[in-house]
């Protein structure tokens, strides 16, 4: 099923999914259609391409964190696979 999504800035490496989406659903992005490889809840992020551990995650055109593991296109991007050092000890 096709789900609504939004890329906030053309530089972004993730889109925001605008409705609760299931594994196998598709989202259309400015960089092509991506099939979700897992469930992604409303307002959460999905990757639009395969990315490697350590690569920055870009949203709002800025780095919001970096990947803790390799991910494929259509992955849910959240605290389980994205880190951010700012504000920590």
């Amino acid at each position: 099923m096709l789900r609504k999504s939004l890329m906030i800035n053309p530089m972004d490496s993730v889109v925001m999914v605008l409705e609760d989406a299931k594994k196998g659903d598709s989202v259309v992005t400015p960089k092509g259609t991506v099939t979700l490889v897992e469930d992604v809840e409303f307002a959460h992020k999905a990757s639009i391409s395969d990315m490697k551990k350590g690569q920055p995650v870009i949203k709002y055109g800025e780095e919001i964190g970096y990947l803790l593991k390799d991910v494929s296109a259509g992955s849910w991007i959240h605290v389980h696979n994205m880190g951010c050092d700012r504000g920590k000890i």
Binding site: M16, A43, H44, Y60, I64, C84, G87, I89
Partner: protein, 409 residues
Amino acid sequence: MKQEFMGYKRPNGSVGIRNYLAVIPSVFCANTTVGKIAAQVEGAVALPHAVGCAQVGFDLELTARTLKSMACHPNVGAVIVVGLGCERFNPQELYDAVKENGKPVALFVIQDEGGTTATIRKAVDKAREFKAILDQDRRTPCPLSSLMMGTKCGGTDATSGLAANPAVGNAADRIVAAGGSAILSELNELLGTEDFLARRAVSPQVADKIYSAIYEIEDVLRSGLDPTLPENRNHLISRGNFDGGVSSIVEKALGGVHKSGTSPIVDVIEYAVPPDPSLKGLFLMNYESHDGEVVTGMIGCGAQLVAFTTGRGNPTGHPVAPVIKITGNEKTWRSMEENFDFNASGIISQGRSVEETGEELLELILRIAGGEETTAEKIGGTELFCVGRRHGYHRKSREELWAGHSCPS
């Protein structure tokens, strides 16, 4: 659109949008007495709090300035101060500040009046006398330039950064363009946006203050972290933020900063210290982000109302100033509509523009400034009145704060 509202012009030139009789304890020991006084006088608001004693230094200073700023706020028409008698924050200091501010004020000290019941009886008599004076006050047309709006997020989800915050930012831009003011704060949630904010400063001096303020908040937070505790004790964002799809403090910051709009930042101001009345525009208030403490600090800086964005939903209100609840989340709007004043979700679901949504929000702001009740006022929410605290932290010099940060270009 008509850029004015019906407000209360105060003798000192400020403008109120409410005309409260405030009953304020100088110390938490007087909270019950204060509550019972306010309950007996229609239209009176009680400002109970947890502080006023056993404090030192900057922490006690924050208490003093917060309580004085609430009492001297333009939304307050008259004040009853209730002290215990032995507290660290002298109730006479609060009384004197209000006296100088030029509004009716009376002081009752429980240890001098002969206990709780006698204090309540005398204070209620005086409060009713003040209320009769306030009832004579009339609203008159006031320009939008006399408005100062605080901006705050609470219960943020990813829709806040997309819809609610941009709508508030647009309304803030409209207020500033009309010659009024807005405040951005919650600096711990702006970590990572300091370069972006400094570029918006009106001068290199203000840019310098922005860096120092953000570095200070980061230092304050770091001083409170404890690696021996479970990891969730050291998180800077809440479980609700994570659940809502926000994955890092920087992601939250980039969404949060939108609520300040695009105006230049004219100065960095301190907690509950109003800027010089001649300076108008967008201000950054130097404080971290406990919802109640920030909202109270902004009101202490002179904000007559606060725009509060929440994707997850939030029922809170403040006893001194209306808090307007705005959501960008259509699901939350539908599930708890009684707690919202404005639905900005059309930006996401219907492709509505930020501009038209911001204009609609400003219309609501003007109506609320003119006396229309917010949902939080209807419910009677007052929990956002919280006095700012900072204990166990020694303020540092610019050199100390900037050390460890790469120097901005």
